[in-house]
Amino acid sequence: MLDTLLLSRIQFAANISFHILFPTITIALCWILVFFKLRFDFTSDPVWMRAYRFWVKVFALTFALGVVSGITMSFQFGTNWPGYMETVGNIAGPLLGYEVLTAFFLEATFLGIMLFGIKRVPSKVHTFSALMVAIGTTLSAFWILALNSWMQTPTGHEMRDGVAHAVSWMEIIFNPSFPYRLTHMLLASGLTAAFFVCGISAYRILKGDPKLAPRLALKTGLIVAAILAPIQAFVGDAHGLNTFKYQPQKIAAMEGVWETEDGAPLLLFAIPNEETRSNDFAIGIPKLASLILTHKPDGKILGLNEFPNDHPPVAPMFFGFRIMVGMGVLMLITAWTGCYFLYRKKTLPTAYLKWLVVMTFAGWVATLAGWYVTEIGRQPWLVTGILRTADAVTPIAPKNVALSLALYLTTYAVLMWAYIHTLKRMALKAVTVEEFETAEPRAHGNLPNVPKAKVDTSGGVA
């Protein structure tokens, strides 16, 4: 039988992994919706409204999954990690409180108007509601990442009798890793939503949708992805340098550096071996890791052996990091190739559209891999240097945790199936049904470089 600690960790990982999938889409998708709505308000071109109407339905579904999976989280601290709030409750409490107060109510209330109020309020009020939802989702990310970053790099507090007390709230919120982690996550959301929009739009086009709206959405998604992907590479690098400074053991695990090295190689592949404390089958580029992290070919990188019993497990870090970076590179190439097709050839080949469908959830893979790296990289600490994960866990019997875990996993499996299945249904339905009954869209003249619609072929490829 697994013990309560491991079961609770699996349960928390399952809950938070399932939850983060949906906000990662909705944070940025809402801004894309605001963009569609604003374009409609300014141009009065109904095609923008059609794009909005389809995507707002997808948004509503995704948002609902995010809300219900998020409610679970607020109970987890008390049920499974009582030591967490007992030790750092004075810091974590207010940050979570501000998230509920400034973000949750804002998004939940205006979502009602955004979804159902379009005929009940003036268009401007409706656009304003969409904007409020977008601000709400982003504020939510702000607060929760402030707390997460504080757990990684705690500052602005003092310990009294083993309990953290706030000294400076500004230092707590704007702790050293927060600006990097927030930017990195918001960009990740942008990329995830962009590929999500591209993938589903490409699916509609492949299924023979002759309309302009999916092509417009696809173009929007591609441009957003093409702009954000290189920025993300840059920000990710800066985040890495920040981690190197404040959490060197995390970087050592990500790079598979066991012994402190001057001029460490960048390992392209290896199998880290915790037994022998070395890497098997390592293939690397000499000195590149040092060059990236210290900007000097012979820069020193602290090895894992400098942190006896105080570093995270190496293999998940090592592979997680490579999966994230690999997906990032793939997204960059995909987005730029797509933009090249659009601007040079004014059309997208079928094979490319199929590839976009494959990439629909690429952002999920990269985001999860990235979060695993940063969260496993915090171990064995729950709050770096303040509270060990093992000391925070509940004294509840393992069988209770096993039961709740089984409940959650079953629910999540059903929900994930239903979510993907329903997305597919909605996309297929949109192929034949018009989202919005208005006059014919104008000629494409004012919408340059949209992949061309071929009404006459069932293949319907742009």
């Binding site: 409750g89 004075n90 409490g93 979804l115 509940t394």
Partner: protein
């Protein structure tokens, strides 16, 4: 955790227990009506239009309603962290079940409108069952809280009673909400449901109010303490009158021009408020009955002050835009104009 141990003069924990009470009450009323609507869904095949209208009446609101639960648990977590751990560890399994219930109904709401037609009934069932699981577990947890987390047979029977009572109360407020939001044949139907649910809820309230002081000596002393008893017994008295008056009123509905159709919902809200103040009055200043007072459980002053500033600025804004949302969606529920 607490800098001022057992110091009854500190006012911050009192403010926070007040805020938490408000959040719980807002949750019970607001999510109460949408849970109630979920429980009341008729599942016959010919009832599909009714189900559509009923769900349309809560469509724009349920998400914000549920947020009050997050706020209530949030305040418990922020202001009284040790009570949060203690209560939630005792209620581990019912909390997990409730969350699954909440998940089921939350997603069913969206899936039913978007999934294939042949799956719609399945999602409607999920919605109804999810709502039932939620209300039953909440009632069970209320029972456990009142009983001081006791697992003897008699106490479990009480929890069962409480689970049924809370479910009846939620159905009651859900039905009265529907009286306000529907018209025609459906309205006649929901008026009938409202009367039945009201009587069941009255039974539940009476039995809980009799058993609670009998098993908790502290609660008995609190209520039957001369001369205060003359004043506080007004709470159950008005509550009882509310039930009776509402029943008579419902019998006379619907009236011409839909007069007084909003009244049952407001009376039910008053009944909820009274019942809730009764529970609060029974246990204050204990946050875990008989174990932990609000001062013993409170977080550091500095943290409470920091969040209080935000709460005082933001909560009026929340109330303002919530009111705006109810204003936008005033009137009878029509077909769900999705977007």
């Amino acid at each position: 955790m607490n800098e001022i141990i057992n110091n009854g003069s500190d006012w911050l924990p009192v403010v926070f227990i007040g805020l938490m009470g408000l959040a719980v009450l807002a949750y019970a009323v607001l999510d109460g009506y949408d849970l109630g609507v979920g429980i009341l869904l008729p599942m016959g095949e010919q009832d599909e239009p009714e189900r559509d209208t009923m769900i349309a009446s809560i469509g724009p609101f349920w998400d914000a309603n549920e947020t009050w639960l997050v706020l209530a648990v949030g305040i418990l977590l922020i202001a009284f962290p040790s009570a949060h751990s203690l209560i939630l560890m005792h209620l581990y399994i019912p909390v997990a079940l409730m969350l699954v219930g909440l998940i089921m109904r939350g997603v069913a709401f969206d899936f039913r409108a978007k999934a294939a037609v042949d799956h719609k009934l399945t999602w409607d069932r999920t919605f109804k069952i999810g709502s039932l699981i939620t209300t039953l577990t909440q009632g069970y947890m209320l029972g456990q809280y009142v009983m001081g987390f006791d697992y003897s047979v008699s106490s479990l029977l009480f929890c069962l009673l409480s689970a049924l009572g809370v479910t009846a109360a939620y159905s009651y407020i859900g039905a009265t909400w529907l009286v306000l939001k529907t018209e025609g044949e459906l309205q006649t139907r929901v008026i009938r449901w409202a009367r039945r649910a009201g009587r069941a809820a009255l039974l539940g309230v009476i039995s809980v109010s009799i058993i609670n002081p009998l098993v908790n000596p502290g609660v008995f002393d609190r209520w039957f303490n001369y001369p205060l008893v003359m004043f506080v017994l007004l709470i159950p008295a008005i509550c009882f009158l509310g039930f009776i008056f509402n029943d008579i009123l419902l019998k006379r509905l619907p009236k011409d021009n839909d007069r007084h159709s909003a009244l049952p919902f407001f009376i039910t809200t008053i009944i909820f408020t009274l019942c809730f103040s009764g529970i609060g009055f029974s246990f204050y200043p204990y946050i875990v009955p008989g174990e932990l007072t609000i001062w013993e459980a409170a977080s550091a002053r500095n943290s409470l002050q920091f969040i209080l500033v935000g709460a005082l600025i933001v909560i009026p804004l929340i109330l303002l835009y919530t009111a705006f949302s109810y204003h936008v969606f005033r009137g009878k529920a029509t077909q769900l104009d999705y977007h």
